[in-house]
Amino acid sequence: MRHLTRSTVTVAVGVLIGVVILVFVTNGSGLAPAAILVSTLAIATPLLLAAMGGLISERAGVVNIGLEGMMIVGALAGFLISNATGSWVAGVAGGAIAAGLLALVHAFVSIVLNADQVISGTAVNLLGLFGTEYVFRTFFGLGSELPAIQRAPTLAFPGLGSLNIITIVAVVAVPVLAFVMFRTPVGLRLRSVGENPLAAQTVAIHVVKLRFAAVILSGVLAGIGGAYLSVGSLGSFSEGMTNGRGFIALAAVIVGRWNPFGALAACLLFAVVSALGNGFQVSAGISADLTAGMPYLLTLIAIVVFRESASAPASLGKPLR
C-alpha cells in the first residue's frame, strides 16, 4: 500500500503544478480554460495509452522502449484497416492487434532469447518506423491524395466541449489499471514478477507467460494510442506522425514512478504545456519553435526532479536466468 501513498504525493504535486500553470497563464492571456482543458486531454490521449502500456510491461520487469515503434504501427494499421473496412472500430482494433504483434517480437527476443531489452526495443522502434514508411508508400505513392476514413466519434460534454471516445477510454484506463495493479491477484503477481522473478517462481507463477502477456498488452495499448492519432483525431496518416510520443510516454512512466496516477500526472503536465503553447502561438504570436519545444524541455526537467530509481521494479531489465 506504500506505493499508493507515495504516488498520491506525486499526483498531487504534478496536478497542482499543472493547474497552477493553467490558471495563472490563462488569466493573463485570455485563453478559455475549457478549451485548454479539452485540448490538453486530446494531446494527452495517445501519451496516456502508451504510458499505461509501458507501465504494465515495466512492472512485469521488461523494459519497453519500443513504444514509439508500436504506436506508429498502430497508427498505420488503424488507418489502413479503417479505410478498407469503413469502420473506425475495426481500424482501432486492427491497430491494437498489429502493435500487439510487434510487441510479441519484443517479448520473444527479450524474454525467450534473453537479449538486451533496450537493444530489442530500439530494433522494434526502427522496424516500426521504417516498416510503416515502406508499407505506406506501397499503398499510397509519394504525394498521392489520401482517402478520407471514418473517424472515431466524439461525445459532447456541456460546458466543456467535445471529447473523442478514445480519450474517454484512455482516461478511464488509468484508475482501472491502478485497481488491477494494486487490488487484484493478477496485479499482485505481475508486480512480483517485476520485483523478484525467482520469488514468483517459488510460488508456481509462470514468469515467462506473465511477462509475455504484459509485453503484448503493452503493445496493444500503445497501438490504440497510435490509432488514436490516425483514426481518432486526424483521420489521416503521415510518416513518423507519432513524433516521439512513445518516448514521452516512457518518460511519463518514470516520472510517475511506475504508478498509473503518477504517469497520468506526468502526461497531463506535458499535454497542458503543449496545449498552452498552441494557444499562445495563436493568441500571442510567440515563435512556434519555442512553444513546441517547451513540453520536451519540461519533460527533461521533470525526469531530473521526480526521478527516484528506488521505485523502479527491482528486476527491471533483468532476464529470469
Binding site: 487490488r183 487484484t184 508486480r191 520485483e195 517462481q201 510460488v203
Partner: protein, 508 residues
C-alpha cells in the same frame, strides 16, 4: 519377521546425475524421504546438496535419474510442477519480494478473495492463523524488506505450508539464525514431521543434525558416501565422513596485543527505519587483537559494522583507525585506511554475482597495484593472484573465469574472505565470517584469522555463534539494545556470563 508395513516414500530420488560442463555436481545419487521423517543431508561446501534439492524441486533438471512422489514417476519441468506434487523448498538464499508484505508473499498466486479482488483481510487472517498454528510467528502486514532474517526464514517456510506441501526441502535453514531461534525452528520442524510431513534438512551444524534427524546421508564430491540411522553416528564421525579427514577445533593461543587500531567513541546510529540502533557505543580494538561482538541479532551489530564499513551514516560519535578519524560514508577512503570488510549478506554486499571469480577478487583493489598499472587492469596478474588465494582458502570452482553465481554458498563466502584478507588489512570487520561454511572450512578460516591476528591485524568479529566468539576472541563485547553491556578479556567470561549479558541482565 513382522516389521511395520513398508511405507512408500513421499519423495524418492534414484540415480540422479547432474553435470555443469565437465564438473559433476551429483553422481548417481539416491535419496528418499518417508512421511514423518527428518532426513539430514550433510556434506562439504560444493558437495552438491543444493543442486540435488534444486532438482527435486524443479529448479534444475537432472541429466540422468528418476524422481518419484509417493511411488509415481514425475517429470518436473518447472518449480510449479514440483509444487503441484506437494514439494516445497526453502532456498539457501531466500526468494522473497522485498516490497510486498509478509502476507502478500505467502498468499501470492493463491490469493484469497475473488479473481478480481484480493481479500486482504482474509489474507492477513489466514496467514496469522497458519503462523500461530505452526508456531512460526510473523507479522502479516510488515514489509518483507523491514523484517529480520529469522522472520524471513519463517515466511519462506509458511509459503510452502500455505501451499500444503507435504515434503519440505530446507537448504541450510539454520545458517542465518541465532541459537535460540535455531532451537525454536528445530522444534517446529520436529512437530511438522510428527504430523506426517517428510523433511530433508541440509545443515553444516552436525550436533543439530544428530539431535533432530531420523536418518543422515553424507554427500562428498557429488556422491553419497555414508548413510546412518539416528544415533548411529556422532558429530565427529560425521565430520570425518564429510571431509575425509579428522577435524580439530582451532584453539586460539594468546598473543600480545599491540597499539590501538580502532577506537570507537559514543557512536549513535539509527537503523533503516529511523529507530535508534546504537546508543553511545565505545570500545577499542588493538593490533593482534580479536574483539568478539556477541549479542542476539538486531541489537545493533549490523549498524555498527555498517558505520565502520562506510555504508551507514552515524548521527554522532567518533571512530579512529590508527589515530586517524574514520572517513564515514566513504568506503574507498576507509579501505585506504586499511579496513577490510566481510559482510554478513554476501550476496548483497560481498559479490557481483555475474562477474567472474577473478573480477570479484579484484573488486577491492582493482585501481591499485598489483591489480592495475597506469590505469590498465593486469589480467594475468589478477588471474594468478585469484587462483593462488582461492587455493589458500579452499575455494572449490571450475576456474577463475567461473561466474560468482555458479559457486556454492560456502565457496562464495570463502572467496570473499580470500579477497578481503589479501590486502593485509590493519583492521578486519568480519561479520559472520563462517556462516554457511562446512566444518572443515570453518577450521581453515579460523586458522587464517588467527594467522592474520598474529601478524598484527586487529579483527572485529561479529558472530551469533558463541562457540566461535569464545574460541577466537581476545576480548568480548556484548551489545544489547544498542549499548555495550559487557566488555571484558576472554579469560574473564564464560558461556553463562555472556548468555546473561545478551539478554540484558547486565553483568558489567
Amino acid at each position: 519377521m513382522f516389521s511395520a508395513l513398508p511405507t512408500v516414500p513421499l519423495l524418492s530420488l534414484t540415480g540422479i546425475t547432474k553435470r555443469f560442463g565437465n564438473l559433476v555436481a551429483n553422481s548417481d545419487v539416491s535419496l528418499d524421504v518417508r512421511p514423518g521423517e527428518i532426513h539430514a543431508l550433510l556434506g562439504e561446501n560444493g558437495a552438491g546438496k543444493s543442486t540435488l534439492m534444486n532438482i527435486a524441486a524443479g529448479y534444475a533438471r537432472a541429466d540422468e535419474g528418476r524422481i518419484e512422489v509417493r511411488g509415481v514417476p514425475q517429470e518436473f519441468r518447472l518449480p510449479a510442477d514440483a509444487i503441484a506434487a506437494g514439494i516445497g523448498m526453502v532456498h539457501q538464499h531466500f526468494h522473497l519480494v522485498d516490497r510486498l508484505t509478509v502476507a502478500e508473499n505467502i498468499v501470492l498466486n493463491d490469493e484469497p478473495g475473488s479473481a478480481v479482488l484480493i481479500d486482504y483481510k482474509a489474507a492477513n487472517g489466514e496467514v496469522r492463523d497458519l503462523s500461530e498454528r505452526m508456531g512460526l510467528p510473523v507479522d502479516p502486514k510488515a514489509l518483507v524488506a523491514d523484517i529480520s532474517v529469522a522472520m524471513q526464514q519463517r515466511v519462506e517456510i509458511l509459503k510452502t505450508l500455505y501451499r500444503k506441501a507435504d515434503v519440505l526441502l530446507l537448504d541450510e535453514p539454520t545458517a542465518v539464525l541465532a541459537p535460540a531461534e535455531v532451537r525454536d525452528l528445530l522444534t517446529v520442524i520436529r512437530s511438522l514431521a510428527d504430523s506426517g510431513v517428510g523433511i530433508v534438512l541440509i545443515t553444516h551444524k552436525l550436533d543439530e543434525a544428530t539431535l533432530v534427524a531420523d536418518r543422515l546421508s553424507v554427500l562428498r564430491s557429488g556422491e553419497i558416501v555414508a548413510r546412518f540411522d539416528r544415533g548411529d553416528a556422532s558429530p565427529a564421525e560425521l565430520a570425518q565422513e564429510m571431509v575425509g579427514r579428522e577435524i580439530h577445533t582451532v584453539v586460539a593461543r594468546p598473543h600480545a596485543v599491540g597499539a590501538t587500531v580502532l577506537s570507537v567513541t559514543d557512536l549513535e546510529v539509527d537503523d533503516s527505519r529511523g529507530v535508534p540502533a546504537l546508543r553511545g557505543v565505545s570500545f577499542e580494538v588493538g593490533e593482534s587483537e580479536i574483539v568478539g561482538i556477541a549479542g542476539v541479532d538486531g541489537n545493533g551489530q549490523a549498524e555498527l559494522v555498517g558505520v565502520l564499513a562506510g555504508l551507514v551514516t552515524p548521527n554522532s560519535g567518533r571512530a579512529t583507525v590508527a589515530g586517524e578519524p574514520l572517513a564515514f560514508e566513504h568506503p574507498r577512503s576507509i579501505a585506504r585506511q586499511g579496513v577490510a570488510h566481510v559482510p554478513a549478506d554476501r550476496r548483497k554486499y560481498g559479490l557481483v554475482a555475474d562477474f567472474t571469480l577473478a573480477d570479484n577478487f579484484a573488486l577491492r583493489g582493482y585501481y591499485t597495484a598489483p591489480f592495475s598499472k597506469r590505469g590498465f587492469l593486469q589480467r594475468g596478474v589478477i588471474d594468478s593472484l585469484c587462483a593462488e588465494n582461492m587455493a589458500h582458502y579452499g575455494v572449490k570452482a571450475r576456474g577463475v573465469d567461473a561466474l560468482a553465481k555458479e559457486l556454492s554458498g560456502g565457496n562464495q563466502q570463502k572467496l570473499i574472505l580470500a579477497r578481503e584478507m589479501f590486502t593485509s588489512p590493519r583492521l578486519l570487520l568480519a561479520s559472520q565470517p563462517t556462516r554457511g561454511l562446512d566444518v572443515g572450512s570453518i577450521e581453515t578460516v579460523h586458522g587464517r584469522l588467527l594467522k592474520h591476528r598474529d601478524e598484527g591485524c586487529g579483527i572485529l568479529l561479529v558472530s551469533f555463534e558463541l562457540d566461535e566468539i569464545l574460541a577466537l576472541s581476545t576480548r568480548v563485547v556484548v551489545l544489547f539494545e544498542g549499548r555495550v553491556v559487557l566488555d571484558r578479556p576472554r579469560s574473564e567470561v564464560s558461556r553463562e556470563i555472556l548468555g546473561a549479558a545478551m539478554t540484558g541482565a547486565v553483568a558489567a
